[in-house]
Subunit: 144 residues, 2 copies
């Protein structure tokens, strides 16, 4: 199926800012204050599980997870990355990559399933978006 049939799930669109597109995935940044947090969404329609991806897409997803992991680690100098594909609420396949510090509010618990996160302030969010776009060399996405 062509990726032109794909569209971003409205809840992901609502909760994030768009960073840009890698060859497979739309890269999003969660609008939260305490955790630099990327989300990779393969631009393939009707996929809910990693195991549903074609093998070439699964391989590419792993490459993009590694790329985004290195970018996030380089920028944040975090202690640990937390990576997950959960999808119990939003079924469209999406992979969280979250920078964690031993000093952060939830450490060592995961961020998923915690009560509502504090929103990031617009200036800090814009700074993070700029940094991560520079690291990827990604342009803005033209049509949102």
């Amino acid at each position: 199926m062509p990726s032109s049939e794909w569209s971003l799930h409205p809840q992901l669109e609502n909760d994030t800012s768009a960073v840009g597109d890698l060859p497979l995935c739309r890269v999003l940044a969660m609008n939260v204050a305490d955790y630099p947090w990327l989300i990779l969404v393969p631009r393939r329609p009707a996929i809910t599980e990693i195991a549903d991806l074609e093998p070439a897409d699964a391989a590419r997803l792993m490459e993009e997870i590694a790329l985004a992991s290195r970018a996030l680690k380089d920028i944040t100098r975090c202690d640990k990355l937390n990576i997950a594909a959960i999808g119990n609420v939003v079924p469209q396949l999406h992979v969280h990559i979250v920078a964690r510090w031993k000093s952060d509010p939830l450490w060592p618990k995961p961020v998923w399933g915690a009560s509502a996160q504090r929103k990031g302030n617009p200036a800090a969010s814009a700074y993070f978006l700029g940094e991560i776009r520079d690291r990827f060399g990604l342009p803005l996405i033209p049509s949102r």
Copy 2:
């Protein structure tokens, strides 16, 4: 580094039963009652992040995640798989693959970070181990 330098982290050994070895990963089953739950541990020493793996190992990890996902889904007929590499407590890189149902005790919250899980009873655990080993075609691990 040869995989002979690798050894399983004691906490993972304590919390799980060994299913067997895939080409890259040791496959473990968590001893909990409510969630069929596999853990893949790449047999590579001193790796804490997916992005630390050599590219060929990262590609193989994705193949083994897809293989384990399909095996777990086929056996359990679950509603969703939850997959994560967290490592805030046990630093040795390990990937959780958990079968979830909309009717399970924690749905839609993730299982990680929840309070202590009920232990599986030995007969049910042995049955699950047998099923998952059959599906993978894996032998017992000789030396634990």
